[in-house]
Amino acid sequence: MQDVRAVGKPLQTMVEWTGDLGFFCWRAAKASLSRPFEGREFLRQLDAIGAKSLPLAALAGAATGVVLSMQTRDSLTRFGAKSLLPAVIVYSLLKETGPIIASLIVCGRVSAGIGAELGSMRVTEQIDAMEASAVDPYKYLVATRILACIVALPLLTVVTDFVGVMMGWVASTLLDPIPLKLFLSSGFKGGTLSDILPPTFKTAIFGLIIGAVSCFQGMRTSGGTKGVGRSATSSVVLASLFIMLADIVLVRLILEVF
């Protein structure tokens, strides 16, 4: 009986958490669709989430491109397929590595920020003050952040992909010079838009996960500064976990559909 209880309690907590998150997302979606629209706050969040993550996304792309170039060169040389290096770099970056690296990097930065910001607003009664001023915090704080994450993620992924491919070429050409034009033409050979667009736009779903989970964790913060810390940490952990789980489903779905 004790074993059943030991399993039952966390399971109940998980079910409750999922239900609360679903209700939270429904409320945020409803708020985002009702007038007046929070254009100004949305742009502010797009700047905070998107523009300010740009250097990080570019750096992550650069590092990935260089590492990918060095690692795959070694492997491909062993199998006598060195000429495939540009295609391997380009396709692995565009189809999976770029989107997932960009999403996880941005998740780390943005989830912690949103979780801590909303958490601290919650414990210092700023969210209550907003409600008392007849302003819907779901509309002003939550919907704007979630939408900004949804819009920013695909754009940041494009940056990560671009910088990754370019740095992949730089790393490759330092060891074995190859003109950029040739690198790109052999890299993208036989490729279509369906190789690029679905993996890039799937990051909008990752953006939704980052925004929804971190806003949810932030808004339900309790327990003072300790609670704020907990919200920031759990936002990053849960959002990263859900991104990886969603990626499995989305990759399968993309392979099926496109």
């Binding site: 607003m121 008392a132 007849a134 819907d136």
Partner: protein, 250 residues
Amino acid sequence: MEQQTKSEAPITVAGLCKSFGGPAVLDGIAFQLEPRKVTCVLGRSGTGKSVLLRLLIGIEKPDAGSICLEGHDISTASPKELNEARKKVGFLFQQSALYDSMTIEENVAFPLRRHTRLSGVERRERVHQLLESVGMDRDFAKMPSEISGGMRKRVGLARALALEPKIVMFDEPTAGLDPITAAEIAKLIVELRDQRHITSIVVTHDIHTAHAIADRLLVLDGGKILFDGTFEDFHRSENPFIALLVKDAA
């Protein structure tokens, strides 16, 4: 919200109950606020004074009972109707709850930007008037973290008054302040009543502040209203808990 009472009381509370899983914090509270008067709610810590205010502004939902704000029952109102009702009420939080990502000027301008059609110039003028009325017009460009607790209360009050409310709710307005600043805040509350004819409900555990500002006292204990009356009645009360408070006031 269709339900309009004929009562002229700015706020009418009936059979209000609230609990958070355990014993009832508020258990069948009923009272009416008198217009253009300051009503102080006294009680020990944890007796539901702040919960009462949060219920009155609709931040918490009651388990039972009704709250009529300017004749509209907010306990059954839709979010839109609730927000309309909230525009008639100002609220000063215990820790002031200023938005820490905004300057003082932006904090006070926030409700005006959201709920009025004032131009930028008009809004700025109004903000400066409000800040001047609480003696904070010189610090408008500062961030909330750069000013003292007393100054934050003043800015919080300016923000609460931005939409020219008929009712202002104060949650522990003098808590954590030195006696001089506390007296200044108390003076501002009295001025609101005398000059702007605002109805105020002030939650406090400070009997001295209550003595300085209250026209009427409500004492909460055990989820019920233990005392409802003027300070004269308060002094005459034979209830042991009230007697203890009277002794403290003396």
